[in-house]
């Protein structure tokens, strides 16, 4: 009996609702229908008062969550798609993100963001949003890549006293399976070495972890040993782990699925250059999606985001420098 990534998210919410009476879920179609991705299936039956359908009002959904959090609740908001969080942007960055600094009162909300591309989803159901929210003070941004992290990071996010943007990748929902969820949880804020190596480091997160591992597998056939670092949370960013890895390999590829201007990969490169310049044997490289809206057609989509092939190619370039 295996557990998928979406099962882990479902189970985390089920356990949270059972364990903590201050947890409640609010989002579009999450009640009797169970959510667009079935992440809340059956939860309304178990907790009719605490699993609530929301109107199509992303701004007000987040405003409501912040108000409820001030009153001692731990709301989990489901954005139906991360793309629609742009409507809630103001409440996220100006209401939730500033509240603790301004008033000294923390805002324990978790906003689940189904993000990332799947074939055929097009420009408005495929976006990555982590770089956007990571930029703003007061927000924590989680980007789980594994089934166990989907479970544990979600539970940790909800129990954290601060607002968390929880970026769950839609491509991993049903494709990614594990035999079981790990008993032990890694601490929130720590990165993980997915695969060790000595010739180059790929620093990445979310679904790109799996694409990086594929590229590393490919290059291992030629004797290259590529280290892959999964950030797990992009804010906080575990700089020590990144620098430690670059110290071992001397080469860095920062890889992400979001748009190329600025963002997480630029942040990774700038930290390594500033704090570990002497460790580098070659200029650090970045690989992101293209600087265009995300296309609908599967052939275009597959070429828009980094693929095992394009990652392999970029790594060859890095190894040749």
């Amino acid at each position: 009996m295996s557990v998928t990534y979406i099962d882990a998210i479902h189970r985390a919410q089920q356990d949270l609702l059972r364990e903590d009476e201050t947890v409640f879920l609010y989002g579009q179609d999450i009640g009797a229908f169970g959510g667009a991705f079935k992440a809340t299936k059956g939860l309304k039956v178990e907790h009719p008062e605490r699993v609530l359908d929301a109107p199509i009002s992303e701004d007000a959904m987040v405003g409501l969550a912040v108000g409820a959090a001030i009153e001692g609740m731990k709301p989990i908001i489901e954005m139906q798609f991360a793309d629609f969080s742009s409507v809630a942007f103001n409440q996220l960055v100006n209401q939730a993100g500033t509240h603790f600094y301004r008033t000294g009162i923390p805002v324990p909300i978790t906003v689940r963001m189904p993000c990332g591309g799947t074939p055929g989803s097009g420009p408005f159901h495929s976006q990555m949003v982590e770089s956007l929210y990571g930029h703003y003070p007061g927000l924590v941004v989680a980007t789980p890549a594994t089934v166990s992290d989907a479970y544990h990071l979600l539970k940790q996010s909800v129990m954290l006293a601060d607002p968390v943007i929880f970026c769950e990748h839609k491509f991993l929902y049903r494709w990614l399976k594990s035999a079981a969820i790990d008993e032990e949880a890694l601490p929130l804020g720590k990165a993980r070495i997915v695969r060790s190596g000595k010739h180059a480091t790929v620093v990445t997160y979310s679904a790109m972890v799996h694409e990086a591992v594929r590229a590393a597998d490919e290059l291992s056939k030629e004797g290259w040993e590529i280290e892959v670092v999964d950030l797990r949370t992009i804010k906080p960013m575990d700089t020590d782990c990144i620098i430690g890895s670059v110290a071992r390999t001397g080469r860095l590829l920062a890889l992400g699925e979001s748009f190329p201007w600025g963002g997480v990969t630029a942040e990774v490169v700038s930290r390594v250059v500033a704090e570990g310049f002497h460790l580098l044997d070659a200029p650090p490289l970045r690989l992101n999606a293209k600087d265009s809206p995300i296309p609908y057609h599967p052939d275009l989509w597959a070429a828009h985001r980094p693929t095992p092939e394009s990652i392999t190619q970029k790594l060859r370039e890095l190894l040749s420098l």
Binding site: A60, V62, G63, V66, G67, I70, N94, T103, P236
Partner: protein
């Protein structure tokens, strides 16, 4: 709506006390704001000063009808009177305007952007309309905890805020959830310099109530007795389970958007119209003619207000501002989350 008179609307001792209480907060508010204006003009205020002149009757009616420690009051930019009525310490106002580190915002935010969220008074952000869903969330939390019975959440906004998406989303959401939210829109004819006909096309904003499925109330914001009466009805409805209420008060803002603004865009005929009446003058006449207050009492209230304001300003002026070298710059409550 015709002007309320004391004889037709107020009969009981409770009404008398309520009116006196509201008016006393109005006097204190006007006294404080007049001082804040002077301090601003003398260059003593950090940042801007935004006053509620002419809006005291509406604001204080709402603040008085809500009970600190039980209800929720979400003030906006022109609610000094409501804040006083809701028992906000005068020091919170002076400290926040004068940049004292001892204020509730510790110099991290200023002037009207202040509150005591854990005590039922959210600290507004500048993005208009966002408070509706915030208060709705506070009320929903009380419902989930089984503590909503008899509680009301009041929120004050202006006519300009009704044009935002946040206003629409928030009011609709509160209506869907049947939450006891009282939304008080003070239609003061201008949003900064933009006149109401460039802001919305409906005859009165109260016409929107039916569209949201909430109860609408329209009051003359210059009329103290009418304000208390209309507000008591709206708050009472919400308190006894009538769901969200929309109160629209019409008046003229008797100052600029902020003290930097001379409001030269307000036509003279509007100033001279009934909308341009000063609610403090109207209220005074109403209370005196009904024998609810004596001239001597009013003078006494005025003196007390001046003394309170003097003290609150003097204390805040002596206090130091935040020390940037001691600042922790922490924007999350959990350590280590900013790496």
């Amino acid at each position: 709506m015709s002007e309320g008179t004391v004889t037709e609307s107020v009969h009981t001792q409770l009404d008398r006390e309520l009116l006196r209480q509201v008016y006393r907060s109005m006097i204190l508010s006007r006294t404080l704001e007049s001082k804040l204006s002077s301090l601003y003009k003398a260059g003593k205020v950090v940042g801007g000063v935004y006053l509620g002149l002419g809006q005291e009757a509406v604001s204080a009616s709402l603040g008085t009808l809500l009970k600190r420690g039980h209800d929720i009051f979400s003030p906006l930019i022109r609610d000094q009177a409501g804040r006083i009525a809701f028992e906000e310490d005068l020091l919170d106002a002076t400290r926040t305007h004068l940049g004292s580190v001892k204020g509730p915002m510790r110099g991290r935010d200023g002037n009207v952007h202040r509150g005591r969220p854990r005590e039922g008074m959210p600290a507004m952000i500048s993005h208009l309309g966002t408070g509706l869903s915030f208060v709705a969330g506070m009320l929903l939390a009380r419902r989930l905890r089984g503590q909503l019975a008899g509680v009301v959440g009041g929120i004050s906004i202006g006519d300009g805020a009704t044009s935002t998406g946040s206003f629409h989303e928030g009011l609709n959401m509160a209506a869907v959830e049947k939450l006891p939210l009282v939304v008080v829109v003070t239609d003061n004819q201008f949003a900064y310099s933009t006149p109401r006909e460039r802001q919305f096309a409906c005859k009165s904003l109260v016409d929107r109530a039916i569209g949201y499925g909430v109860t609408g109330h329209e009051i003359d914001g210059t009329d103290l007795v009418g304000c208390v009466k209309g507000m008591a009805e709206a708050v009472g409805n919400a308190r006894k389970g009538g769901g969200a209420q929309l109160v629209v008060a019409r008046l003229l803002r008797l100052c600029g958007h902020g003290e930097h603004d001379d409001a030269s865009y307000v036509p003279a005929e509007l100033r001279e119209s009934s909308l341009g009446r000063d609610c403090l003058e109207v209220g005074k006449e109403q209370l005196l003619s009904a024998g609810m207050v004596t001239t001597a009492e009013l003078e006494q209230w005025q003196l007390e207000a001046a003394e309170k304001v003097q003290t609150a300003v003097a204390i805040a002026q002596k206090e130091s501002g935040p020390d940037p070298y001691q600042a922790d710059w922490r924007s999350t409550s959990t350590p280590g989350m900013q790496a």
